[in-house]
Symmetry: none
Subunit: 128 residues, 4 copies
């Protein structure tokens, strides 16, 4: 199930986009998978249909979905593209992270150390 945090600063439509993109890229929604209809998803999430439509239309524009008027939205991403897209998303996030951190004047070593530390703590927490 998709989940929306109404209190978040991130707009609802952006939260939805990320989650759906994620499921497509990870293969959970395979190519040609039929998405829930705008109205269905809207009522399940108690969100206005227009907001869902916006999400679907944008994902269509980005090449993840395809609309067939009268029959619904369908996942479009080819299997071969999945890995590429996933890596592309990672690269974008990493670049953004680096540029912001470098601004603070940290050295690459400090950066990697902090990251490793946090990841270790995290995996320890997850096991607990």
């Amino acid at each position: 199930m998709l989940k929306i945090d109404a209190g978040s600063a991130v707009p609802v439509y952006e939260q939805l986009k990320r989650q759906i993109k994620l499921r497509i890229v990870s293969g959970r929604y395979p190519s040609d998978h039929r998405m829930l209809s705008i109205r269905q998803l809207a009522s399940e999430l108690t969100i206005n249909p227009n907001t869902i439509a916006k999400v679907y239309r944008q994902l269509e524009g980005e090449g993840f979905l395809m609309s067939k008027t009268g029959s619904g939205f369908f996942v479009k991403l080819e299997k071969e593209q999945m890995g590429t897209t996933r890596r592309k998303l990672l690269a974008e996030l990493t670049d953004e992270f680096i540029s912001r951190v470098v601004e603070l004047g940290f050295t690459p070593d400090e950066l990697i150390n902090t990251l490793s530390e946090k990841l270790e703590r995290k995996s320890a927490d997850d096991q607990t």
Copy 2:
């Protein structure tokens, strides 16, 4: 000089806040340093004075600046706090980065590899 990218998705006031915070935390603006007046800075950056005022007020709220009515804004951060604050900012950015990347289902190893790669390339580019 502070620089604003009008085309950026990041709001002007946010760009300004980051840059000023950075200069304070790195010691470039020492404690008791007098900031440019709202009007001066506004005209230098050709930005609305209200925006500058908002930035100064928020930095005051976060403990980086102090206003003395009638004579302007002054840097407030003590030397001892500098390192702490810097590390705190790094920790925040790192946490945010990790949580978003973990969503994509990448392993810690992949993450560190990608990051190291990008940092190496970057340092190579910088030397050129």
Copy 3:
């Protein structure tokens, strides 16, 4: 066989109409030719029968088909009309094309040049 491209922006019923009209105008479906029944065609193309019915009804309205209740749809176009109709269709398409291109401020010469070029390339490709 008629072919439907489900992914196309052109609605299914429009694709069908064009193809059938084409076959009538080109003489491939002669006058009094009996069209496939709505159900047959619908199952062959795996398309909703309502859509086929709509197509037949519209073609009837435009004078290409004739329905005989209880026995199906029949091609109605007389041989003499074929050439006229074909030319009329071309004229419509050409007019629409010209008006949209003129909007962009291109001169008649530019237009004809681009068109000739593309046609030459096309015939070259087709031979390959």
Copy 4:
């Protein structure tokens, strides 16, 4: 002034997009030109602001406009890109035209003849 034909089959937002794109591509709206605000344009055309917003957002997505929150939408297309974009639009329209006409089984010669004829008539009419 931009003009909307409410009775047309072409959606309002599509009519608007074409006209604005046209003016940008033809240089009538130069780079950095500030567009009318969403609300202003909406009231001038007696159209809902949401519709204008949709148009502007889509043109932003296609690289013709840029939004600066709080100060408006600005034309983004560089001079160098103008010619290219204009030619690209022509190429698209021409390709679509050819493919639809070829379906009808006309020869390239017939096609060019019809087009030339119509253009001649048109220029004669325009002089009258």
